[in-house]
Structure formats: structure tokens, C-alpha cells
């Protein structure tokens, strides 16, 4: 694995991913399993073999055409992958919070036009603004993770990204979610930790 070239690595990953994907989606998987343990009725064998052969040929063609689009070999990839898996539960929890947040703002009884007078929860539920901030992130993968995370977490959606300086334009639905990105910055730190890009 350590001596494998970049091209061989991406070809291998593409082959494995495509094969698993085909096996999961194909209704023939059960028949193929029966064929290998010798329980398939002999009338069906030519048919299954033909489809298995065409599957192998199509997987090979797709691999040759598109292996360079799959994940490239990176520095310390295994460590990044493990950290990404550790990051996902927090992200799923944030998705739940985001939905409760939007649901609360949507069914809040106060009307939005009436300005800033009281209401049941003091200040009314929405006060949109567009904010900008710079991060230490530079690589494609970390910027995509960050942009997707911003859109999935409470009250914020990514508008634009400027990769060379790691700058984000973000639409926030109220002041609290904007401050979570501008002041607290816990998400930037988590994503930078995952991709080893801490400034």
C-alpha cells in the first residue's frame, strides 16, 4: 500500500467502489451467490453468466474512463478519514438542531414585518444578514466539507467561496447563528482539525 502509485491507487478504489455498488443495486446478487454455492438451477446459469460478464466489462470501461475523478491519494489519508468519521456524529446532531431551529422560526406566532416590539420570546425570530469571514482552509475537500456543513447547520447557508484565501460569504437568518461562525468559530476549528489545516 505504501509503495502503490497514485494511478494504481485510484484505479483500485474505483474498481472496489463500483463493484460493491453494482452488487448492492443488482437484483442478480442473490442468483450469483446461489451460483457460487452451486444451488442455482442449471437453466439459469447462461443468463447469469452473461449478465455477470457484462457487469465486469462495464465496470472495467467506467474505471478506465473515470478513475481520475475518484479520490486522489493524499498525505495521511487514513488519519483524515478517521477524523472525518469522528466529525460526522456532531454534524448529524447539528442537522437535527438546524431543523428544530427553522421549524421554530417558521411556526413562531409573531409576524415578521412588525419590527422589534416584544412578542412571546422577546425579539422576533428572524433578522437576516450576510456575513463574510476568512478561514485557514485551502484544499478542495476541506472547503467542500466546510461549505456543506455551514448549509446543514442552524440558520446559515453558504453563498460564495473564494478558495485561494479560504473566504466564505454566508447568509445568516438571525444574529445568533452568525455569531456562531464569526465569534465562536467551533466549526472552522473542527473542519481544520479533520483535514490537518490549522493555519
Amino acid at each position: 500500500m505504501t509503495r502503490m502509485s497514485e494511478k494504481n491507487f485510484s484505479v483500485l478504489v474505483t474498481l472496489v467502489v463500483l463493484t460493491i455498488f453494482w452488487l448492492l443495486l443488482s437484483p442478480l446478487t442473490v442468483d450469483i451467490y446461489k451460483f457460487f454455492i452451486g444451488e442455482l438451477h442449471h437453466e439459469h446459469i447462461p443468463h447469469v453468466l452473461f449478465l455477470l460478464g457484462s457487469a465486469i466489462i462495464s465496470i472495467a470501461i467506467v474505471t478506465v474512463i473515470s478513475h481520475d475523478l475518484m479520490i486522489k491519494k493524499e498525505e495521511q489519508m487514513w488519519l483524515k478519514f478517521k477524523r472525518l468519521l469522528a466529525y460526522l456524529p456532531w454534524e448529524l446532531y447539528q442537522i437535527l438542531l438546524a431543523n428544530l431551529d427553522v421549524a421554530y422560526r417558521a411556526i413562531h406566532p409573531k409576524s415578521f414585518e412588525s419590527g422589534r416590539s416584544g412578542g412571546m420570546f422577546g425579539v422576533g425570530p428572524i433578522d437576516p444578514e450576510i456575513i463574510q469571514f476568512e478561514t485557514t482552509l485551502r484544499s478542495d475537500l476541506s472547503l467542500v466539507t466546510m461549505a456543506n456543513s455551514i448549509t446543514l447547520t442552524p440558520g446559515t447557508i453558504t453563498i460564495l467561496v473564494d478558495p485561494p484565501i479560504g473566504k466564505f460569504w454566508v447568509h445568516a437568518i438571525a444574529k445568533a447563528p452568525a455569531d456562531a461562525l464569526l465569534v465562536d468559530q467551533s466549526m472552522q476549528k473542527k473542519v481544520a482539525h479533520v483535514y490537518l489545516e490549522e493555519g
Binding site: 448492492l24 443495486l25 437484483p27 446478487t29 442537522i95 437535527l96 438546524a98 431543523n99 431551529d101 427553522v102 421549524a103 422560526r105 417558521a106 411556526i107 415578521f112 414585518e113 419590527g115 422589534r116 422576533g124 428572524i126 433578522d127 437576516p128 444578514e129 450576510i130 461549505a147 456543506n148 448549509t151 446543514l152 440558520g155 447557508i157 453558504t158 453563498i159 460564495l160 460569504w169 447568509h171 437568518i173
Partner: protein
């Protein structure tokens, strides 16, 4: 005693109801929020969790099967595609100069 079927059906129905609640609040937000950007907040976020909860309910109903694996893939792609689509619309509106709503203005 509670049978296994009853528990599975109960969990499925509970997940469906929670998912439908989120889809419903997303639709309300879509109608009530004042401008393009805030309306995208409602549809972009609530639909993600609502759909995923409904799919998880279907996975529990079906048990371990090829269909469950396909549904799991579906929810994974939704998790990737939904924020990307929301961002694309947001960006298109921002680049073409749709003006964001500020507090105290009338609805658009």
C-alpha cells in the same frame, strides 16, 4: 405482550410523523418567510431531515434487505445533494443581485 411487528410498526409510524412534522414546518416557512433567501432556509433544511427520517422509517420497516441498502444510499446522497442545491440557488440569486430582506421592511 407486545409483538415484534407492533414495535417495528410503531417505530416506523413515529419516524414518519416526526419527518412529516419537519416537512410541514418547512412548507409553512416557505409560505411565511419574507424573501427568497429566508425561504430557501425553510425548504433547504427541513426537507433534508424530513426526508431522511422517512427513509430511516422505511429501512426499519423493511429490515435487513437489499432494499434497505438502496434506501441507505439514497439518504446519503440526499445529505450531499440537498445542501449543494440550496447553495447553488442562493449563489445564483446573490450573483444576479436579488436584494436580501432587512428587518422592518414589507414582505417581497
Amino acid at each position: 405482550m407486545f409483538s415484534l411487528d407492533l414495535i417495528v410498526n410503531g417505530v416506523t409510524v413515529a419516524l414518519f410523523v416526526i419527518g412529516l412534522f419537519f416537512m410541514f414546518s418547512g412548507a409553512i416557512g416557505f409560505l411565511r418567510f419574507p424573501d427568497f433567501y429566508t425561504r430557501l432556509h425553510a425548504t433547504g433544511k427541513c426537507d433534508t431531515l424530513g426526508e431522511i427520517l422517512i427513509i430511516v422509517g422505511l429501512i426499519i420497516y423493511d429490515g435487513l434487505s437489499p432494499l434497505s441498502a438502496k434506501l441507505l444510499f439514497l439518504s446519503f446522497f440526499m445529505l450531499l445533494a440537498n445542501p449543494a442545491g440550496t447553495h447553488a440557488m442562493m449563489r445564483a440569486a446573490y450573483v444576479t443581485g436579488v436584494r436580501p430582506w432587512k428587518r422592518g421592511e414589507a414582505r417581497q
